[in-house]
Every structure is written in structure tokens, then in C-alpha cells.
């Protein structure tokens, strides 16, 4: 199946939709949660997308794959869940009683990140002949080094409930933001068509 990852499935533009979905689901499953804060996240990331470069980086034939679309979408969903978890962990720090409300978000974010690893590995192999491409991610079908790096912080949290702490979750979300938006801003200089 030939399906190109359009800009709408890329992180800067797809992430606000994912966050909106997280807010919607949480508002149904846990109406008492602090939804305005998640909506504020949606607004912040939407504003970032407004200023982001429009158009698409010309896709090579190696990018015209359903696996690429699945990778970008699952990665964005994982990031959205990590940011929401980081937000709730931060809110929890300012409350007197300990709250685990961020835990399910982080767990499902970790699962979405595993989906991204599977789909990314399949896409990478079908396109490049390697399931693990060494190099810093710049074109999507690029490096996996910091992709794994981003996965380690939530792994620390998810795999070690004994060491569970809000600070680790906030640090993980900050790392995800720093690395992923580092790529997005770097890619703003790439040649684009349309938009």
C-alpha cells in the first residue's frame, strides 16, 4: 500500500490532535481530572504548529509506506501521553496528597511508544534494509539513537514502581520535548513543497 506521511501525520501538526484526544478520553473516564490544564497543552502545541514550517519535505519512495504513517502517528500519540503524564505529575507536586493520576497516561504512552518502535523498525527495514538506523533522526527514516533515549525515561518509571516519582516523569516529558522539538526545528530548514 502506497501512502505518504503527509505533514498532518507529522509530530508538530498531529500532536495537538493527539493531546485533544487524550483530554477527551480523560474527561469521559475521569471527569474530576484537571481538564483545563490538558486543554492548555493543546493550545500551546497548536500555537507552535501555527508557526511551524508549512508544506512537506519531498518524500522519497522509501517514505511512501503505510508503516511510515503508522510510525509517525503512534510516536505522536506516545509523546502526547508523555506530556499529559508530565503535566499531571507536575500538578501533583503542588498538591498535599500524593496522586498517581499520571501513571495510566505514562503506561499507555509507553505502549504507544512500543508500537512506534515496531512500526518504525518495519518501515526502516523495508526502506533501508536495517531495523535500527544509527544516526540522529533528522528525516524520520533516520536515526534511532535518541528515539531509544526518549524511551528510557518512561521505561525507568514504568518498570520500577518502587522508584516511582513525579520528578522522573516530569524530567522524561521534558527530555521528550527537548529532543523531538529539536528535530522539528532542525527540519524547518529542509526544502519543502506545497503548504
Amino acid at each position: 500500500m502506497s501512502l505518504s506521511p503527509t505533514p498532518s501525520s507529522k509530530g508538530p501538526f498531529f500532536l495537538p490532535w493527539c493531546l485533544a484526544l487524550v483530554a477527551l478520553v480523560r474527561s469521559v473516564t475521569q471527569p474530576k481530572m484537571a481538564m483545563p490544564w490538558v486543554v492548555a497543552l493543546v493550545v500551546i502545541f497548536s500555537v507552535l504548529s501555527v508557526f511551524y514550517a508549512k508544506g512537506m519535505i519531498p518524500p522519497t519512495p522509501k517514505k511512501l509506506s503505510i508503516w511510515a504513517v503508522l510510525f509517525f502517528m503512534s510516536e505522536s500519540m506516545a509523546h502526547a501521553l508523555f506530556y499529559a503524564a508530565g503535566l499531571f505529575a507536575m500538578l501533583g507536586l503542588f498538591r498535599s496528597h500524593r496522586s498517581d493520576s499520571f501513571h495510566p497516561l505514562l503506561v499507555w504512552g509507553f505502549i504507544a511508544y512500543t508500537v512506534a518502535q515496531v512500526t518504525g523498525a518495519i518501515w526502516c527495514f523495508r526502506g533501508l534494509g536495517q531495523h535500527l538506523q544509527l544516526g540522529r533522526q533528522a528525516s524520520g527514516l533516520g536515526g534511532h539513537l535518541d528515539f531509544f533515549c526518549r524511551g528510557v525515561a518512561p521505561a525507568v518509571h514504568c518498570q520500577m514502581e518502587a522508584l516511582r516519582g513525579a520528578v522522573m516523569v516530569i524530567a522524561g516529558a521534558a527530555m521528550v520535548f527537548y529532543i523531538s522539538y529539536g528535530h522539528y526545528f532542525h527540519e524547518m530548514h529542509f526544502q519543502r513543497v506545497g503548504g
Binding site: I111, G129, L132, A138, G142, Q191
Partner: protein, 292 residues
């Protein structure tokens, strides 16, 4: 015996796992920065076995590649720690198998299974690093190509580029390429981008990655003479005339691939099942936690 047990439990300490994961994260991040600034150097490793690549560059450019052996050491230690943690947990669970229902027992066993699968994935990566082979062969219509390990050559019958429509913003860019190979018996094999063909225990893929400076000259990006991981410019053919030798065939043997993809898929399924049960309250979070 007591000393052995102390060492075993010491290596399996969850605090060591914490330190190792943070160290792995820091090493990967450091590596990502090095890889960004020395893309050509590290992209070589994508087509070479680690034992062929590392000694050469560790001797010539230790300041850029020092983190690679460190990463292997950290990951090996993490693997050992994970194995001990998961083994200890399974050893504690097994005596309870008669008192627990099969479903409950499997639920409690799931986190340990995930850890064992993680080890299989790491071993799969190690297998790829040390035993994978990547052979690149230039393709030209009408020519015969020899692939190492193949007794008889293939003949390139056709190389056809499909372009995006003239009305599209991506006009003059290649949307897909079809290469037809004929073996000695006349049997035809069609190859396209992202659609590898599995033959004789190897994957055959199309490729267009360039080597050396010629790649940089053909790029249409803003001025820089460094090789880049953004290959958007490689697939443009302004005059639609294919230049000889530009199309490449990549023949890959990756004995670790099946372990990695199967392991990741199983982990995904197990985690979804485990956390779905946990979220719905059927699982006792404390007793079902992954703490070792």
C-alpha cells in the same frame, strides 16, 4: 555459596537497574549528538558489522566513537541485571502456581515475560551487529550482476522510474522505481522501494544511497558539502534521464531481525493485555507490579 548469592542479588538490585537505565539514556543522547555532527562516519555502521567498523575507528577517531563500546558495556550490564531481576521474580512466583488460577498466574508472570522478551530483543540486536551482512550492487539495464554467495548471476532486465504527475507539486520526482531481475532460468523477480523480496534467505531491496562526494553534488538542498540523512534530493531527476549506476540493489542478511520484530510485537501484546486488565481493576496492582 553465600558470596555467590550476594553477587547475584547485588547485580539484580533495582537501584543498579535505575543507574544503568540513566547511564544508557545519557550515552544514547551523547551518541545522538556525535551522530548528528559526523553522519557519514556513523552511517557506515549501518552497512558494516561492528567488529569490522569499531576497531578501525576506535584507533583513528577515538574522540568520536568512544561512546559505542561504553554503550555495549552498559547494555550488557543492563541485560544481566534484567535477567537476574526477572529470574528472581519468576522464582518467587513459581511456588504459587498451584494456589493461583491460571489466568491470575499468567497475569502476574507477564511483567517477567516482558523482561525476558526484552533480553531476546537485545540479543537480536547483538546478532544483527555481529552477523548481519549488507551488500550493495549497482544496477544497469541489460547488465549481469553477481551477488556474493550466489553461484549464478542475475540479469537486470528493466529499470523503470515512475514519477509523480506533472500537475503535482512533486513533479519530476520519483514516486516509485521497478527493477526486474531475471535469474539463469529466466524466472523474473520485480523489486520496488519499500517492498523487499525474500530470496535464498536474504532480502533484496532497492536503494539509492550514494557513497562519497558525488552524493553531495547531486543534492538540491541548501549549501553544505556534508552528507545528510535527508535524502529528499536524491530522488529528483530533472531531465528524467536515468544516469548509469545510480540505481542500487541492497542484499541484506539479518539473522537478528525475526527475533527483534517478534519480540517487540509480543511485548506490545503482553503490555496491552496486562495494563488493560490492571486499568479495569481485575489485576491487583501491587502484587502485579514489575518490581523485582
Amino acid at each position: 555459596m553465600i558470596a555467590m548469592k550476594k553477587i547475584w542479588n547485588g547485580f539484580g538490585d533495582i537501584r543498579i537497574a535505575f543507574i544503568l537505565l540513566i547511564t544508557a539514556s545519557a550515552t544514547l543522547m551523547t551518541g545522538a549528538f556525535y551522530a548528528e555532527h559526523h553522519f557519514s562516519l556513523f552511517s557506515e555502521l549501518n552497512r558494516m558489522r561492528i567488529q569490522d567498523w569499531l576497531p578501525v575507528h576506535l584507533a583513528d577517531q577515538p574522540q568520536w566513537v568512544w561512546w559505542v563500546p561504553l554503550l555495549f558495556v552498559v547494555m550488557a550490564a543492563l541485560g544481566l541485571n534484567t535477567f537476574i531481576c526477572a529470574s528472581n521474580r519468576v522464582a518467587r512466583l513459581l511456588p504459587q502456581r498451584r494456589t493461583l488460577s491460571p489466568g491470575r498466574f499468567f497475569y502476574l508472570l507477564t511483567p517477567s515475560l516482558v523482561h525476558f522478551l526484552f533480553l531476546i530483543i537485545m540479543l537480536g540486536h547483538l546478532t544483527t551487529f555481529v552477523a548481519g551482512t549488507w551488500q550493495t550492487v549497482p544496477l544497469e539495464t541489460g547488465r549481469e550482476i553477481s551477488i556474493s554467495g550466489e553461484r549464478r548471476p542475475y540479469r537486470v532486465q528493466a529499470v523503470e522510474d515512475d514519477f509523480f504527475p506533472e500537475t503535482a507539486a512533486l513533479r519530476n520526482r520519483i514516486a516509485q522505481t521497478t527493477v526486474t531481475l531475471a535469474d539463469a532460468d529466466g524466472k523474473l523477480t520485480r523489486l520496488q522501494y519499500t517492498r523487499p523480496v525474500f530470496m535464498d534467505s536474504r532480502f533484496f531491496l532497492l536503494d539509492k544511497i550514494k557513497k562519497g562526494n558525488s552524493a553531495a553534488k547531486k543534492r538540491i538542498l541548501t549549501a553544505t558539502d556534508k552528507e545528510t540523512c535527508n535524502k529528499a534530493g536524491v530522488y529528483i531527476e530533472a531531465d528524467k534521464v536515468r544516469r548509469d549506476g545510480r540505481q542500487l540493489l541492497l542484499v541484506v542478511s539479518d539473522p537478528g531481525l525475526a527475533w527483534i520484530v517478534s519480540g517487540l510485537t509480543l511485548i506490545m501484546i503482553l503490555m496491552v493485555g496486562y495494563f488493560f486488565v490492571q486499568t479495569n481493576g481485575a489485576g491487583n496492582r501491587k502484587s502485579g507490579s514489575v518490581e523485582a
